[in-house]
Symmetry: C2
Subunit: 214 residues, 2 copies
DNA sequence: TGACATTGGATAGTTCGACTGTCTAATATT
DNA sequence: AATATTAGACAGTCGAACTATCCAATGTCA
């Protein structure tokens, strides 16, 4: 396998040598193969890992500590579903403080989940986030209707089915080799979010322009 | 109109007095009405503004400088559509550096927009973001298919229509008073994003669990 | 073979954004 | 009048993510 010194690794990953050293120190990147007291060689696994770290931080907006945890989740994945779940709970979002949502909002989210026949452990972080978001929007005088929640759910349902099947099919054929597809799932969840949001904004602008042009 | 000293304002907005002073210094919050050399009174407009600032930073993840620009956009909005557009370009996302996307990805985004019959100024930031995201995902070995882009667009199209009409209807009946509905649009775009993303994750987890339970 | 740039590792310093603390003179409140 | 607050100025803090400096040991080329 092709191997290189740190300088080349850093250049190919698009970051500086001190930054690579920093990631090594923090345990985000596995050490290279030492070829002497002051030398080590790095290979494509290091390059791949560096690219993943930078994508998760720059695109996904994750903190390095979170990247660490997510990488551990991916590495220790025993089953696909479980790994995706734990990675999801790790992925940050707003409202990661401990403040509980109002009972009203929590109930509205519960009701939405039931209408969709979606099951979720009670107190699930995603449900809490939605409820807290509803609270904040209410407080700003821009409440969100149940109808909109249902529209979101209805729109995302087929999308999610397609996305999950896509990574699943490429993934474990028998059972082994869970890791690549778990990485695909985490990457897919997190790094496709900007695409989804950008398309939403484009769609809104187009609707808005058509309304303005009458 | 009800007015209060800074201490009460801070308490009601859920932040500290020094923080309010900081926002005043930075020009994010308009000064209170001075009642003497060392006193000033604040009213509900200050409270509303503080809540908006905190929602945009904490939920939307905006930096204070960006909040400043977005608030200016809202304040100087001459038309609804234009304001939404400029606010959208200000809202941050990944890839806000100047690096251009690959020609291939740019072309794929163009093609998707044409398939949707969406118009967009060339070099539009949202389109650039999508193209750059495609590049990054390609580089990680997790390419995004055109089919998925189309599915995203198809799923978000009716959502966007509903969302825009919702704020538009509440908005300018004749023509005046654009500002409240522009705020609604910006808030709606940005602060509803966490809800959308959380619902997507929940949907994915449910699909994933069903696959695991067979 | 020997000069010299480079490397890995350790440690300390920098930058940025967002606050937070302290100080002072002036003003409410009791 | 005594005491507690306040506005405003300004300096200090904090965490995250680097970045710079040293050093001794190597690799490389003349």
């Amino acid at each position: 396998m092709y191997s290189m010194w740190m300088a080349e690794l850093a250049a190919r990953a698009g970051c500086s040598v001190p930054t690579v050293k920093y990631y090594l120190r923090e345990g985000l990147l596995h050490p290279g193969e030492a070829t002497g007291a002051t030398r080590a060689r790095y290979d494509e696994t290091h390059l791949q890992r560096l690219r993943l770290i930078r994508a998760l931080t720059e695109v996904g907006g994750l903190r390095l500590e979170t990247v660490h945890q997510v990488l551990d989740d991916i590495a220790h994945a025993s089953s696909w579903h479980e790994a995706v779940g734990s990675a999801h709970t790790r992925l940050p979002g707003p409202f990661d403080d401990e403040a509980p949502p109002s009972a009203e909002s929590a109930a509205r989210v519960e009701a939405m989940l039931e209408r969709q026949e979606w099951q979720l452990a009670p107190g699930h972080p995603q449900a809490r986030r939605i409820a807290r978001a509803l609270d904040v929007l209410d407080g700003l005088g821009h409440p969100v209707s149940d109808r909109l929640l249902d529209l979101y759910a209805a729109a995302l349902r087929p999308l999610a089915a397609y996305e999950v099947h896509a990574v699943h099919d490429v993934g474990p054929d028998g059972e082994p080799d869970v890791e690549p597809s778990v990485e695909a799932a985490v990457v897919g969840t997190l790094l496709q979010e900007p695409i989804l949001l950008a398309i939403r904004r484009i769609a809104q602008e187009n609707v808005s322009r058509r309304l303005a042009e009458d």
